[in-house]
Symmetry: C2
């Protein structure tokens, strides 16, 4: 049992203590699920200033800067002259429709700059629009009347949910009208038998998840911004997040959608049933359309049974090949209870330790680390499976060392070594970040190749005359989703030239995706060709023209 004793140690608030054998997992000790699992809101609060941007550079100091106008950052963009300029008559129409105080923020007739600012700028202060009118409809009918009027009067609009996006999709570029969905936030019904949840698009994800949690269910999506993002925005951007490995994509779990088309047509496809084979599944087009075809107003979401038992383990691995073996073995042995399989490379963990200090979960350093989470209905069963798995991969030398969390605090501590990367990597000045999908066999290779390329160019080094500190990779291994990060001391055009289009071409060669889960927005509009062929892009434009012939919906973005 030497293997076992070496493997299974406690991790109390970050400090390791050896234990002689297994102890019961968190959930069986009466800790509620909410405590046993680091809540996303909590996790995101650790990293207030830096997050993954999807594809482009973002300095950690930018939060303190005044955001540049997007129109200035993207000098190639010009305002589409087909769109009307907003007039007092337009504003008067909306005030009459929605009511002046609660539903219209009017930057035309009054000095409402401060009120409008949150709608004109993203939380990263990377994108800044020049919108002068924010509308807050309270019903689908109001959304319909707004869009019909805008379409007839050639007024461009930007649908906005929680404004937590990473690619500038919810921020106006010029003077587009913002349609903010926050007032439409009713949870209409939840069927405790089937698990189907009917709710407004403006509901906050965490509120929705809490609603079903109280009834024993789980919303099939979880992500860092859950405390402020809207479910309508989640569906519009086809958000991936932490639960995709287990519950699949929103294309499978969204049962129904109500959306308003640009001409005001209300598309009511609010089926609450799992099976309905009566015609084209048009709602699918709106999942991931980023508000370019219409505005999602209501949803039906299939929620899954919530798992009362959660276990987390973290282990060190000698090579990427062994990390793949560990993943294959985890799928085999943990199968139906596996709910996360995250990869962190040695560089990322070294940086976290360097920046935060404290005791590492494992004594030695390894080139790779994996974090496994299981969720199931019986904690003893799950722990037994996890124990067996860990013993197998230890004795077969697939993993070199590992720890299993024994209570909620330890679960939180282990997750923090994965979730803390984003914060720590910005320590030296900034980060270039790419959120990509690559077939698993090649996934980590991009980190090596990018690092070699930057070294060869003389841009990476330990001294201050090198702009690049290091290159690292981590992410949702279970979904072939890597976060490629380049930690930098300063913003440098030379670095960018070495990175792009190299990174995109590298991904294209391996049929990867340049946007795994963050969407296109403004940031990646010009790069879609690396992941989609011309025929596909042509067919997409055909759909855009079909639904939005005047192009008023979220212009300048997407495709």
């Amino acid at each position: 049992m030497a293997t076992r004793a070496r493997l299974l140690r406690g991790v109390a608030n970050g400090s390791c203590s050896h234990v002689s054998g297994l102890v019961a997992p968190a959930a069986s000790r009466g800790l509620p699920k909410a405590a046993a699992r680091l809540s996303s809101a909590c996790r995101s609060s650790i990293i207030p200033q830096t997050r993954c941007l999807g594809s482009r550079s973002f300095s950690s100091t930018s939060a303190s800067r005044a955001a540049k106008l997007t129109a200035d950052s993207y000098p190639g963009l010009t305002r589409d002259s087909r769109f009307s300029q907003l007039t007092p008559e337009h504003v008067a129409y909306f005030k009459q429709l929605l009511g002046q105080d609660s539903a219209v923020i009017d930057g035309i007739n009054a000095d409402a700059a401060a009120d409008i600012e949150p709608f004109n700028e993203d939380w990263m202060h990377k994108y800044k629009g020049q919108c002068r009118l924010v509308l807050k409809p309270g019903s689908t009918e109001e959304v319909s009347k707004i869009l019909r009027y805008c379409n007839e009067n050639m007024l461009a609009v930007v649908p906005q949910g929680g404004n937590t996006g990473l690619v500038g999709g919810s921020i106006p570029v010029f003077d587009e009208i913002v349609i903010s969905m926050g007032r439409m936030n009713t949870i209409h019904s939840f069927d405790e038998m089937s698990g189907s949840l009917v709710l407004d698009a403006g509901c906050i994800l965490e509120v929705a998840d809490q609603h079903v949690a109280e009834r024993g269910y789980i919303f099939p999506l979880d992500l860092g911004a859950k405390g402020s993002c809207h479910v309508g925005g989640n569906v519009s951007t086809n958000a991936g997040g932490l639960r995709l490995l287990r519950y699949g994509s929103l294309h499978g779990s969204v049962l129904g959608i109500e959306a308003v088309l640009p001409d005001g047509t209300i598309m009511n496809d609010m089926c609450t049933l799992r099976k309905n084979n009566t015609g084209y599944d048009l709602k699918q087009l709106f999942i991931g359309a980023e508000g370019t075809l219409g505005i999602i107003t209501k949803l039906v979401v299939q929620c899954a049974q919530r798992s009362p038992a959660v276990n987390v383990a973290l282990f060190g691995i000698e090579s990427y090949e062994k990390a793949q073996k560990a993943f294959r073995e985890a799928k085999l042995q943990l199968s139906e209870i596996l709910s996360a399989f995250e990869l962190m490379d040695g560089t990322s963990q070294r940086i976290v330790h360097q920046v935060r200090g404290g005791t590492k979960p494992l004594e030695n350093d390894y080139p790779f680390y994996c974090l496994i989470e299981t969720s199931g209905s019986n904690s003893e069963h799950d722990y037994e499976k996890l124990e067996k798995f860990l013993e197998d991969v230890m004795s077969n030398e697939v993993i070199a060392d590992g720890v299993v969390a024994q209570d909620a605090t330890q679960i939180k501590t282990l997750w923090s070594w994965r979730e803390g990367i984003t914060e720590c990597i910005g320590h030296w000045g900034g980060t270039y970040k790419y959120d990509v999908s690559i077939p698993l066999s090649d996934m980590y290779l991009i980190v090596h190749d990018v690092k070699a390329r930057l070294s060869e160019a003389g841009l990476l080094g330990e001294t201050d005359d090198h702009p690049v500190v290091d290159v690292l990779g981590y992410g949702h291994m279970g979904d072939s989703n890597l976060h490629l990060n380049i930690a930098i001391r300063r913003y440098d055009k030379e670095v960018e030239k070495v990175l792009e289009p190299y990174v995109y071409e590298w991904i294209e060669k391996r049929q990867g995706s340049i946007s795994a889960e963050h969407g296109l927005g403004l940031a990646k509009k010009n790069y879609i060709g690396y992941s989609r062929n011309e025929t596909m892009i042509g067919l997409m434009k055909q759909i855009k023209t079909l639904y939005d012939p005047n192009g008023i919906m979220n212009p300048y973005k997407y495709i």
Copy 2:
């Protein structure tokens, strides 16, 4: 332990034997999964003559009848005069393109009636077309050239997979050219790490499943016709089947599609990754389009880890309310291992017993029976969960009695009480069948209402002067999917008048679906309005016109 002793008995080849306690489940005794679970091919072979038709009547004696021409059965349909008549020149083009012997069956220049017949008629002998040319392309490029030529020459086509459909979707109505996909049946690759399978549309489902089974995975779809249906047809009809409860719909598990549009455009959307947020997810339109937008030629399918342990239990229940409670409790306690929850009413089980004889699994009769299947990675854990669940629902009087299968033979026997219904119900002459989705709380009510209505009309009774023998319901309770069956002594227009449009209106009132999993085809083309509003139908027609402006793809059907 009285409860337990009463509950857990053996079922050996249909005869019950009491056991004093629990025995190990099938899989832990070394029985392979294939044996422990009744294969679908085996199950379907029990019922060669009758199957669920989706919506309309079907006499069990019809198999022996010569099929009527669809054009005669549906006198309201007339051949679209925009379509060209097939000429020897057209045929010559295709022969030159595909090669005369293996890829063209030519009913124009030769007497190929016998060769063409299987493509002109469905397996139920319910639909019969007048096609005189069958094309069997061997590559995507050939499909592209065929469709471009047909589109330019206004030749209507019908894509055909395994021809196992239930609504006439794959059979020509008049002289449409059949494009049979059987020659495109290569499995291109399987990624054992991610579970993504790349294969041709013409692959047989069972072959695909076997391919991944050998590698520890499961195809996320299973249905009775798996031995002959094509995966391309499955995706084109968005087949539901037995695994939807566990693995979700094809909208979630199909990662990539290659399809040829009517103008010959090859839409290559063959992403092998789970996450790819780069533009509209156009492939979704082809899932369930029933060949009306184009022809699917290749697929990428996300396969799940295969579960080595399978357990099956069957129990008797006193009311539909208690059946719902049992379902809710099964979701709660069996959660991640639950792979089937099937409902059978007392009438259905009485009929099976009446027709087949033998020993019933349970001694007493109950108004409802449920069959539960669990699939997991650890048979002891699964059995323990199942045992605990059964003890709880027994002691709480949610269920009245139950048995657990103890080996593969018993699993097969228990499934046969569910799967045998279709065969036995046709015993008296025929069956009117409806495949519908209804919110679970109301689902069974339709059986009561239809029975009362037929009784009030004097059509249902024990004597031969009543056309209706009985009304019953069974189906995939886990998916809110009911098979409403009316067993009849003879075909009777009066019965039909009482049933329709009553059944459709009943479903419409409860926002149910008139086609849960079988699609529209020809059979339900005119009934879509009961499940979709005019706006939705209008938007669907817009998509049809966009992709197929000449209307050559599978005409006279769908919408």
